[in-house]
């Protein structure tokens, strides 16, 4: 059924067979796009390529320009500078109804005076499809998003989850080359959000449509997207896969925005082969791996994710036997936060700072648990550290 649905979109079909597209022109090319409201530069020179079939997330705090960028792709705002190329054609100043792009709105924006069927058929009628074709396509969409039996309902007779499906079906009915989703799950409760995330991903894989989702929720972006663009103050701070974004953030701000992180500021001391030695005020001297991109200056910051920090009752000996390969910090447990699947310990270090360690609760009985005021050693390897510009 899905093949038939998207037969018109050759690029999407090709992608459907190849889950890792790499060759060919990007479907969407954003070139130096900028837009200001008054003196506020909402989007400030963004360039980005998105390939056909990608599930791309624009992630950022509110006011970072991600929604404005999305609205420029939909045609609700015109960029002041730059070009937006879709399939090689500049659409930067095309009106919304002239673009092969559809959007799923944050609060769904379902037409309250139309039934589910008429909401889904709205875009098909505008496209001038024959009556039979419209009926068939609506039926396909209803089946696709599992709304069978609700076709005659009005939007206010539906639950939040059902409304979300109608909005999705309505946006997909025209078989857009590009589907824009503006915080599509923000209005759902947590349980429903998780199952809907999985359904959206499954749908995107089956249809092969290129999805661009805007979200402020980093977990949502990490779960669903194959690539994430982090935005800050109207600029793209980093574009990377979820894993790279988490394990190799390009700046301290990104490290702190995506997930939890321990950050120690310090000064570069010396280089020993592929290791850097950095003297920090709060955690003593740390040995880190060399950063992938060279960092200048002597003021540096060392970032370590809490789950990379292990706890032990006494200093561990590294596998190679070289004590220096391991950073081990003496401290005392200051605070314990039990989260079910894991426990976060706050360790007050003898050096003065605090480090958070996230420990998976792999056993049901708490034989391994630590208690407050217990002396521990927090340790991590040089490769667990990310060296950033301070």
């Amino acid at each position: 059924m899905t093949d038939e649905l998207h037969r018109t979109d050759a690029a999407a079909d090709a992608v459907g067979r190849d889950p890792h597209p790499s060759a060919g022109q990007p479907l969407l090319r954003i070139e130096g796009v900028a837009k200001a409201f008054g003196t506020f530069r909402a989007v400030d020179g963004v360039s980005l390529d998105i390939k056909s079939g990608e599930f791309f997330a624009l992630l950022g705090p509110s006011g970072c320009g991600k929604t404005t960028l999305l609205r420029m792709l939909a045609g609700f705002e015109a960029p002041a500078e730059g070009r937006i190329l879709l399939g090689g054609k500049d659409i930067a100043h095309a009106l919304p109804h002239q673009r092969p792009v559809n959007m799923m709105f944050q609060n769904y924006a379902l037409f309250p005076h139309l039934s589910v069927r008429d909401n889904i058929a709205f875009g098909l009628k505008r496209a001038g499809l024959a009556r039979d074709d419209i009926a068939r396509r609506v039926a396909e969409m209803v089946a696709l998003v599992k709304l069978d039996g609700l076709e005659q309902r009005k939007p206010d007779q539906l639950s939040g989850g059902q409304r979300q499906r109608v909005a999705l079906a309505r946006a997909l009915a025209r078989r857009p080359q590009l589907l824009l989703l503006d915080e599509p799950l923000a209005a759902l409760d947590k349980k429903l959000r998780e199952s809907t995330q999985a359904e959206l991903m499954e749908l995107q894989r089956r249809l092969g449509t290129t999805f661009i989702i805007v979200t402020h929720d980093q977990e949502e972006a990490m779960t669903m997207a194959s690539r994430i663009g982090v935005m800050k103050s109207g600029k793209l701070a980093q574009v990377a896969s979820p894993r790279e974004l988490y394990e190799a953030p390009r700046s301290r701000w990104i490290a702190e925005f995506v997930g939890d992180v321990n950050v120690f500021e310090g000064e570069f001391k010396l280089r020993d082969g592929h290791r850097l030695v950095i003297a920090t005020r709060e955690a003593g001297t740390l040995v880190t791996a060399e950063p992938r991109e060279p960092v200048g200056g002597t003021k540096l910051a060392v970032a370590i994710r809490p789950e990379k920090v292990k706890l032990a009752r006494r200093a561990p000996v590294s596998e190679t036997g070289r004590e220096a390969a391991i950073n081990s910090l003496d401290g005392v447990i200051a605070d314990i936060c039990y989260l079910g699947g894991s426990t976060t310990y706050k360790v007050k270090l003898d050096a003065g700072g605090t480090v958070q360690a996230s420990v998976v609760n792999s056993a049901r009985l708490d034989v391994d648990a630590y208690s407050v005021n217990q002396n521990v050693v927090a340790w991590f390897t040089p490769d667990d550290c990310v060296v950033l510009q301070s």
Partner: protein
């Protein structure tokens, strides 16, 4: 005792207050007018017969009741003057309401799309004429519309006409007066519905391939229908019974029902016929009201 109980429970009083109000200021006067409409005119004080005298005893009251008749209503239906007056009132009201909707809708739409801070200014501008007495504003229009008035001066200065146009005592002058006076009553309910409409709905329609005019006809207009209904009723009903504007601005060759009523009451001193005319007018006006209410009820039932 019962009154003490009523005031001891403010909530219960609040619930019956509107009904008391209706009883005192609508139903009781309505009963009086209905009774007078069933009487005959008489050269007396009051100028109709029979008069109900509650002190004269049961038999006298029964005789008085027997003397009531629907002759006045028969007259209203048989005499062209009244039928034409009703028809003219309805024609004027329909035309003026249509004009009001055509003029008011774009204004309300424009207001609702203004930046928030400007909306308040626009609102004040719409309401500001109310700070001057209605009569004074109509007299001002007489001034503007007269032979050497402002309107003719402007038209002459722009060379749009070569001679002063006769405006006063024409239907055009009356329509100008009515549209001017009732415009806020059309704009405000329309503005209220349009301003609270979610802008994303229009964007969604555009996103789904509707060009701007389809966005308006398929989404904006249908969703503003409650406001259209309220505005149309707020204008149509008082315009049907309008007396002052046609009297001051229109010619005297054809009268609206409001003017006819006035003539019967004050010139002919025929209270019973005037009352009958008023009752029929009320019935004519109740019809669209009931229709509107049924429509709204059905919408509500569909919605939930």
């Amino acid at each position: 005792m019962s009154s003490r109980r009523i005031f001891a429970r403010p909530a219960r009083f609040a619930a019956i207050a509107p009904y008391l109000w209706m009883m005192l200021f609508f139903l009781v006067p309505f009963a009086f007018v209905l009774k007078i409409s069933l009487s005959q005119t008489a050269i007396a004080q009051p100028p109709y017969d029979p008069v109900f005298d509650l002190t004269a005893g049961w038999d006298a009251l029964k005789t008085a009741f027997a003397a009531l008749s629907i002759d006045n209503f028969r007259l209203l239906v048989s005499d062209d003057i009244y039928v034409f007056a009703y028809l003219r009132s309805l024609t004027v009201a329909v035309t003026a309401t249509a004009l009001l909707l055509l003029i008011g809708y774009p204004i309300a739409y424009g207001m609702a799309r203004l930046p928030k801070s400007w909306q308040a200014v626009a609102m004040v501008l719409v309401i500001v004429p109310f700070w001057t007495s209605f009569l004074i504003r109509i007299y001002a229009w007489i001034n503007i519309l007269q032979h050497d008035g402002l309107l003719n001066q402007i038209l002459l200065a722009l060379h749009l006409v070569s001679q002063p146009v006769v405006w006063l005592s024409t239907d055009s002058a009356m329509y100008i007066g009515i549209v001017y006076s009732y415009l806020p009553f059309m704009i405000l309910p329309l503005y209220a519905t349009l301003a609270k409409m979610e802008p994303a709905l229009e964007e969604a329609a555009g996103d789904l391939g509707a060009p701007p005019w389809q966005v308006f006809w398929l989404v904006t207009f249908p969703l503003s229908l409650p406001g259209v209904g309220a505005g149309v009723l707020l204008c149509f009903i008082p315009i049907v019974g309008e007396f002052v504007i046609p009297d001051l601005l229109a010619g005297s060759n054809s009268l609206m029902i409001g003017q006819t009523l006035w003539l019967e009451f004050f010139t002919n001193k025929d209270w019973p016929v005037a009352s009958a005319a008023a009752i029929v007018l009320l019935m004519v006006l109740l019809l669209p009201l009931l229709l509107y209410e049924r429509l709204q009820k059905r919408q509500l039932e569909q919605g939930h």
